[in-house]
């Protein structure tokens, strides 16, 4: 029997929903639990309704559960909206002094604000009282809680928050019928981080030296993280005047020989597409993160979607090779970021990573990243002693289509790059023969790239009847859906893509041919991966789609699969 709990914190922006949620997640991770947490918030600085869901289990989890065991309601709306999501025996912790007149056995009155004022001297710590109360109900290790708070809040504020949390903790423990006692799950230490943090750490580990971007939900925290660590890691982060400038600066930086990246969401990426083509034509290494949110136009700024796959696949005019990764886990976020920098420099073409709001802001526990395993491969570099002599040619024809790179400032080379079609020396041309040769040269790189595709993950029996296919952020939910099906007599397989281009044709074809039925599960309206699969393999599949701006849960996928039967 697994030990598992689902917690939810609800409230308005400004009430500390995120900090209580994150502290709860961290508390459970430090208690040896596997944790998954996601966030739902509105595009506003104050007010509205936000929630943070945390699932902690002694088994590995990468998806949320819809039923809630403990709801921490920081306002009335949270009770009204989420009361029906309570699991059997689930409880709501709320401030009965602020919200009098509510009735129900599931209601646990912990006067957050009153206790905060009384015990810690300031009602502002109401959310810490609520945190303490939730941990009181599960019988959390009080010393560990105090350690967590003094680590999070510095100085005097730490001591006050400890008092506030302890007041909540003791109060909650008085509700005898509501206790949901748990114990330490183990002694393994795991990191708890979200997709954006994992990508930012990956960029630093990969030796990225330059980033230019324009803040946009959901990638802003990547930019902020890198900026805050830039001095320490020999990096420059330039807040550009717009996304057009951001990507063109990134190309300029890549041209000089530093590892360079940008990040944006779909709307900003719309402005970047011309610059993407510039990187392709000049064969300049750049890494681009596109954190998708629902579009078109401004869409739903703080929600999630996988609606930009086809856009990213075809972005910019003309034809050129590119690589597209879609991290499925936080480990992918870290590892594929490093791989992206190696591939972009080795093949001298743009590498894109698609994430989305859900991946960017969801927290996962994972084993510590092993930095000793990071390799840095800068690809083919010009060396005068190894060259055939003569004038350096930036776009020299080679077997692989990859020409040795030199950088401005090299005493033995002048580097000429051009966005016009050009000859080997980089000067603009108009003749048909050179154009053909240069197109062939650039596309020759696909041969090499196809040999090192990140193959899809597969879970399930070799002869699975029903195959579920997904890409990117939906990995955890689809996997849990397949597992649940199989626990109840189903024979379900799950194939998940972390690289979308070059497309893993063989792996997808083979898996689909074995299965009786295939469903492609995507957070979009038109079934973009299903379309790509049809294009690349000639095979058709059913689609399970969701385009309301909210992520999938296993419950939703299972209900859809039941309908399809």
């Amino acid at each position: 029997m697994t030990a598992e709990i689902n917690l939810m914190v609800g409230g308005e922006a400004g009430q500390g929903v995120q900090s209580v949620g994150l502290l709860l997640a961290k508390a459970m991770a430090r208690w040896g639990y596997h944790v998954f947490a996601d966030q739902d918030y509105e595009s506003r600085v104050r007010g509205g309704h936000n929630f943070f869901r945390i699932r902690a289990s002694d088994a590995h989890v990468e998806a949320i559960r819809e039923s809630v065991d403990i709801l921490i309601a920081l306002n009335k709306e949270s009770i009204d909206l989420h009361r029906r999501e309570l699991a059997k025996g689930g409880v709501i912790i709320y401030d009965g002094e602020k919200l009098p007149g509510l009735a129900g056995n599931e209601l646990i009155n912990v006067p957050f604000a009153g206790l905060a004022k009384e015990e810690a001297g300031d009602a502002v710590m109401a959310n810490t009282v609520a945190l303490g109360a939730a941990l009181g109900l599960i019988g959390y290790d009080l010393n560990l809680l105090n350690e967590l708070l003094t680590g999070f809040f510095s100085g005097e504020s730490g001591a006050k928050n400890v008092k506030a949390a302890n007041a909540g903790y003791q109060t909650a423990q008085r509700f005898e019928g509501a206790q949901q006692k748990m114990s330490r799950a183990g002694n393994d230490k795991r990191m708890l981080l979200n997709g954006n943090e994992a990508m930012a750490v990956g960029a630093i580990a990969a030796g990225c030296k330059f980033m230019s971007a324009y803040p946009m939900t959901p990638i802003t925290s990547i930019m902020e993280y890198l900026a805050s660590h830039s001095a320490e890691f020999g990096m420059v982060v330039v807040p550009a005047e717009d996304e057009i400038s951001a990507i063109n600066m990134t190309v300029g930086a890549g041209f000089t020989g530093v590892r360079a990246m940008t990040a944006t969401s779909g709307g900003g990426f719309c402005l970047m597409v011309e610059g993407l083509g510039l990187a392709a034509m000049t064969e300049t290494p750049i890494v681009v993160i596109e954190g998708t949110r629902p579009g078109p136009a401004i869409g739903l700024p703080t929600r999630t979607e996988q609606g930009d796959l086809e856009f990213i696949l075809h972005a910019s005019h003309g034809e050129f090779p590119r690589v597209i990764f879609a991290p499925a886990t936080v480990d992918d976020c870290f590892n594929l970021m490093i791989q992206a920098f190696n591939i972009t420099e080795r093949y001298q073409l743009p590498v894109l990573l698609i994430t989305d709001h859900y991946m960017a802001n969801s927290y996962f526990t994972t084993d510590k990243f092993d930095l000793s395993k990071v390799t840095i491969d800068r690809g083919l570099l010009f060396d005068k002693n190894k060259s055939a002599g003569g004038t350096y040619k930036r776009y020299a024809y080679t077997e692989s289509g990859i020409s040795p790179r030199a950088f401005p400032g090299d005493r033995d080379a002048l580097v000429v790059a051009d966005s016009d079609e050009h000859d080997e020396a980089g000067h603009l041309i108009e003749d048909a023969e050179t154009r053909t040769k240069m197109m062939d040269k650039r596309f020759k790189k696909m041969d090499g790239l196809k040999k090192e595709i990140v193959q899809p993950r597969y879970y399930g029996a070799d002869n699975a009847e029903i195959l579920l296919i997904g890409w990117g952020s939906t990995y955890g939910v689809i996997k849990e859906s397949a597992e649940t099906m199989n626990k109840t007599g189903g024979n379900c397989g799950h194939l998940h893509l972390s690289q979308l281009w070059p497309f893993p044709v063989e792996a997808v074809s083979a898996a689909m041919k074995k299965a009786k039925r295939t469903y492609v599960i995507e957070n979009n309206f038109t079934g973009q991966l299903a379309g790509l699969i049809r294009e690349q393999t000639g095979l058709a599949a059913g689609s399970i789609l969701k385009y309301d701006g909210r992520p999938f849960t296993p419950e939703i996928i299972l209900a859809e699969l039941r309908k399809q039967r």
Partner: protein
């Protein structure tokens, strides 16, 4: 080494005979030779248009970027490798139309680069349409009713925060090369707006038209280029008399000096050290 004129020989230009670009090319080369800049230390970043071709007709490291976008790669290259002399090259359509926003913000941030704008008040490469600097009422293929009021590069550069704002004329190579030298020697963002006759498509603003009107600011000893308001006033002058020379000059910290990461040396010279990232992981436990 001593740099010679031959060191800056490039491909043969494809410009129209008599094009103002020839004068600009000659002045650029003259300035680079006189400053004894090794082509290996030079990065020319150009946009698109007839001006954008200039780097191919001389020597150096070259990044021929998109239309309107020489500024972002130029400033990024300077941030990454401040040992390079970076010159961005635009036309009036490229720099003041497509790239207007980049121009304003690069001036504001005061990157240490030189910005040459070949300003012929017309679109040449697309054969004769109005540009942002076309004179008010100027009739072109796309403005049969006459052009709207022009963009004021000098005034905008001063307002945006450029620390060297100058104008010269393609028909006066001596003066132009001296302005380019000023720009390269200036620590900060230097705009050199270059009046350039287009012999094929602009039959109003010709060599003769400019020659009759231009006058040199330094001929007036009382003109003080550190006086921002006087410079701004001078920037409004256009028509019968057109000032050239340094309108405005100011010493201000350059953008590249603001980054602690650059205190240890250029970004291109810094090592890639994965293991150093280990210390970032503690906060996730």
């Amino acid at each position: 080494m001593t740099v010679k004129m031959e060191d800056y020989n490039g491909l043969t230009p494809s410009w129209c005979p008599g094009c103002g670009n020839f004068g600009i090319l000659a002045a650029v080369k003259k300035a680079l030779v006189e400053l004894n800049i090794d082509p290996h230390d030079l990065l020319l970043v150009s946009g698109i248009g007839q001006a954008g071709k200039l780097p191919h007709y001389t020597k150096g490291n070259v990044f021929n970027s998109l239309h309107g976008r020489p500024m972002p790669p130029a400033v990024a290259a300077k941030i990454c490798n401040r040992d390079l002399k970076v010159i961005a090259i635009s036309g009036d359509g490229d720099g003041y139309g497509e790239g207007g926003n980049h121009f304003i913000h690069a001036a504001r941030r005061n990157h240490d680069i030189t910005y040459l704008v070949h300003d012929n008040q017309i679109y040449g490469l697309t054969k004769g349409q109005t540009s942002p600097t076309s004179d008010f009422g100027f009739v072109t293929k796309t403005t049969p009713q006459g052009a709207p009021p022009p963009f004021n590069p000098m005034g905008i550069a001063i307002a945006a925060g450029a620390t060297l704002v100058a104008r010269s004329f393609a028909g006066d190579i001596e003066h132009l090369s001296s302005m380019i030298k000023e720009g390269i020697n200036h620590k900060g963002f230097a705009l050199i707006d270059i009046l350039q006759p287009c012999v094929s498509f602009n039959h109003k603003n010709t060599y003769a038209w400019y020659k009759e009107r231009v006058y040199k600011l330094d001929a007036d000893a009382s003109y003080n280029p550190s006086d921002k308001f006087a410079a701004f006033k001078k920037a409004q002058e256009w028509g019968e008399h057109i000032p050239m020379g340094v309108f405005y000059r100011e010493e201000k910290p350059v953008y590249e000096s603001e980054f602690p990461a650059l205190e240890k040396g250029t970004l291109v010279s810094q090592a890639l050290e994965s293991m150093k990232a280990e210390k970032l992981l503690a906060e996730f436990f």
